[in-house]
């Protein structure tokens, strides 16, 4: 269903390979793809438009790094702009105010406020050694106050005793008084879920705010939210005023476009993300990760960056050109092995790609690690120049000689030859197939997958399903 942005752009830019700078019309065409990708990731339309206008301006005229394709270059520009817009700084809960510091939660029904209240309380208590009191002002949802109480017991965080039929504003007053007299550093107010257009409930929240004077007002929002994210965030920001956003359910497989929408319409930082139902499942927000996720491509951009830094552009171009013609000899293999090591070896490359944990495990189980890369290089070095150009020359006696020279078994040589043959075939196929990996740094990655090793289904995430 979803195509990753990289796949889309690679298609668009395929015929542009090798050109110097990104032209106006290239960029316009690419931006059409970016638009669809962002919409599929649930970024709100208005935000998409602004974003594209901004990126378009930046992209036109940029030189394309020689070792990557124009498509990858645009992905990088888009990615960097996303990171920029998501806010690069890391924010934590601001407790810089006289105790008890009040933190108020706000958000729609079911967004995760109560759970997040307990998570943050636990975090402040364990990490920052704060004494925290939690109070539920939710007098509406069945068993809401009970829920917070149970979570408090689970987390070992104090909760304000429940008094039946007390109104939210009165509970807030009681909570603050209790926090003052109880010597608490922080008092957290969980509130009932409310629609941003529910006038009565928004007024209630404003009344609570004016009593409690929260130092932090956190909008708790579901990261699976679609286009409505803008209206929700905007209204809460305008009516109640928010100092930060917490995105929940980031442990799902949503693309998280709401992060961009909410951040850009409110200007409020995304402070934390919820990554599960358990009370320790809360993390800091990393703009880079979210940007990659919105684009459906993990941390591929870091890989492209690194490739751009480390790879010898000339060589990569030359090799790519050869491979396009379907040529791939043992010198090429040796070169790839060297470049692979430069990128931090197989583990290094894999660790930058999303969703390959399983492959990594398989690799180490099979003893396919960086030592193997070196051994393979040694085998190729033991060959004559002619043999490297014409692998078919390698008969049994030549293989024996090479094995002796490299200090390995003949079976290792055979394995390498088999791998080379499979890679050469793959390269041929790859020169027709325009997948992201195929284009990456002149086709470096895919060829490096050892024989028989398959990428897991759904890889790269957000790729064709």
């Amino acid at each position: 269903m979803f195509e990753s942005l990289s796949d889309r752009l690679t298609g668009v830019f395929d015929r542009l390979r090798g050109r110097g700078a990104l032209t106006d019309s290239d960029v316009v065409e690419a931006m059409r793809e970016v638009r669809v990708a962002l919409l599929e990731a649930d970024v709100a339309l208005g935000v998409v438009k602004d974003f594209i206008a901004k990126v378009q301006e930046q992209a036109v005229g940029q030189e394309v790094l020689r070792s990557i394709t124009p498509g990858q270059q645009v992905v990088k520009i888009v990615h960097d702009a996303l990171v920029d817009m998501l806010g690069s700084e890391s924010h934590s809960i601001d407790l810089n105010a006289p105790a008890p510091v009040c933190v108020m939660m706000a958000g729609l029904q079911g967004s995760g406020k109560t759970t997040t209240t307990a998570k943050i309380a636990l975090r402040l208590q364990t990490r920052e050694k704060k004494k925290v009191l939690m109070a539920s002002l939710d007098t509406r949802r069945p068993a809401a106050q009970e829920q917070l109480k149970i979570l408090g017991e689970q987390a070992g965080v104090a909760t304000l005793p429940i008094i039946a039929n007390q109104m939210p504003a009165d509970i807030a007053k009681r909570a603050i008084t209790a926090a003052k007299f109880g010597g608490y550093d922080v008092v957290m107010l969980d509130t009932a879920g409310r629609l941003h257009i529910d006038e009565a409930l928004m007024a209630e929240m404003i009344a609570v705010r004016d009593i409690a004077h929260p130092h932090e007002t956190l909008l708790v929002a579901d990261c699976l939210t679609g286009q409505d994210a803008v209206q929700i965030a905007k209204t809460f920001a305008e009516r109640v005023g928010i100092t930060g956003i917490v995105l929940t359910r980031m442990d799902g497989d949503g693309r998280g476009g709401a992060a961009l929408s909410m951040r850009s319409v409110t200007g409020a930082p995304i402070k934390l993300i919820g990554v599960g139902e358990k009370l320790d499942a809360i993390e800091e927000f990393h703009p880079k990760r979210i940007a990659g996720r919105i684009l459906g491509m993990g941390d591929v951009v870091s890989l492209v960056e690194k490739a751009a830094e480390t790879l010898d552009a000339e060589k990569a171009e030359k090799m790519a050109a050869k491979m396009k013609r379907g040529e791939f000899d043992l010198d090429d293999l040796a070169e790839q092995l060297r470049q692979m090591r430069k990128l931090g070896g197989m583990q290094g490359v894999l660790s930058m790609l999303p969703g390959v944990g399983k492959v990594k495990d398989q690799l180490s189980e099979a003893g396919l690690d960086d030592r193997m890369l070196k051994r393979q290089e040694a085998i190729i070095t033991s060959m004559t120049k002619k043999e490297r150009k014409k692998p078919e020359l390698l008969n049994a006696s030549r293989r024996k000689r090479i094995a002796a020279g490299a200090g390995v078994d003949v079976s290792d040589v055979n394995k390498l030859m088999k791998m080379h043959r499979q890679m050469a075939d793959m390269m041929k196929a790859m020169s027709k197939n325009k997948g992201l990996l195929g284009k990456l740094a002149g086709g470096l990655m895919p060829g490096m997958m050892p024989p028989g090793m398959k990428l897991p289904p759904g890889f790269p995430p957000g790729g064709r399903r």
Partner: protein, 311 residues
């Protein structure tokens, strides 16, 4: 929605109030405009903002282009031209809930991601069927979330439906089995089984759901007779994965969309209807027991395009 809240601002209540006077009243007054590329762009934006997603939007626009391109239309006619193909797609999902009185009980498993509105929807359904004279039993199958059992018990009290529950942390499948047996013994017409919220990419949790289904089948191979997936109206494109995975793992037979009393338009239902044609039975429009309506493609389509809102 609070009693004294401004109900008119909600997207669905606005619809029911305003629809009658909308189209007809303004036709003729308002200047007509040509359905050209620019207008299509505007319509595209409207649909995108309603969460249809780029694919379904393209589908709908094609329809309009084919039938009405370059026509001179009033604002109301324009909205109608837009609503029509949306309605057509939604009709693919227009089916009645197949309540089977012979089952005694007709077992309904309610599933969905966290916080979507499962427990509340069960409360509303209990209210609805009780009012129709059916005997209802509820099963508190969310043994994970804090106070989830208490929450369902309160809904049981409100609607007069008995709630079968065990302690928190217990085995959900075991509870479901017990509830089925007891509902059967009591001659209940319907059994609604609440489940813990779970994201569809959590394999372990999805397997637990499968286990519930498996255990129910031990009593009746056809059970659960219905499996409802509850979707939150604010959800974006991820709903497609939700339907895909929950359908595969838990055999979802129909959908309920909650929280349509907000500003979210739930346009993902159009994409879902187009892709899966899965029945959509009810929509939730508030937090009280009465806030449940039958899904109606005509009404939904017009509300989605804002047929009664002045442009």
């Amino acid at each position: 929605m609070s009693e004294d809240g401004d109900k008119k601002s909600g997207f669905f209540s606005r619809l029911t109030k305003g629809l009658a006077r909308s189209a007809a009243a303004f036709t003729g007054f308002i200047r007509r405009r040509k359905l050209d590329e620019d207008t299509l762009d505007e319509l595209e934006e409207l649909l995108l903002r309603a969460d249809l997603g780029p694919h379904a939007v393209a589908r709908v626009l094609e329809e309009i282009k084919a039938s009405k391109f370059n026509a001179e239309l009033s604002e109301a006619e324009l909205k109608e031209a837009l609503a029509k193909p949306v309605e057509e797609l939604l009709r693919l999902s227009w089916k009645r809930f197949p309540f089977d009185p012979a089952k005694r009980p007709h077992v309904v498993l309610v599933v969905g991601v966290n916080g979507a509105g499962k427990t509340t929807t069960i409360g509303k359904l209990a209210q609805k069927f009780t009012a129709e004279g059916k005997k209802i039993v509820l099963a508190a199958g969310d043994t994970f979330r804090a106070a989830a059992i208490e929450q369902l018990k309160i809904w049981g009290e409100r609607t007069g439906a008995p709630v079968i529950a065990r302690e928190q942390g217990g085995d959900a499948a075991g509870l479901a089995f017990e509830a089925f047996e007891r509902a059967k013994a009591e001659g209940a017409d319907l059994l609604f089984i609440d489940t813990a919220g779970r994201l569809q990419n959590k394999t372990g949790l999805m397997q637990e759901l499968q286990k519930i289904v498996r255990v129910l089948k031990k009593i009746d191979p056809d059970a659960p007779h219905s499996t409802l997936l509850v979707l939150d109206a604010t959800v974006g494109q991820n709903a497609i994965q939700q339907v895909e995975v929950f359908r595969e793992i838990a055999g979802v037979t129909g959908l309920v969309m909650t929280k349509l009393d907000g500003t979210a338009r739930g346009g993902i239902l159009v994409a879902l209807a187009d892709k899966f044609g899965m029945p959509i039975y009810w929509i939730g429009v508030g937090e009280t027991a009465e806030d449940l309506q039958l899904f109606d493609p005509y009404q939904f389509a017009r509300a989605l395009v804002g047929a009664n809102e002045t442009a």
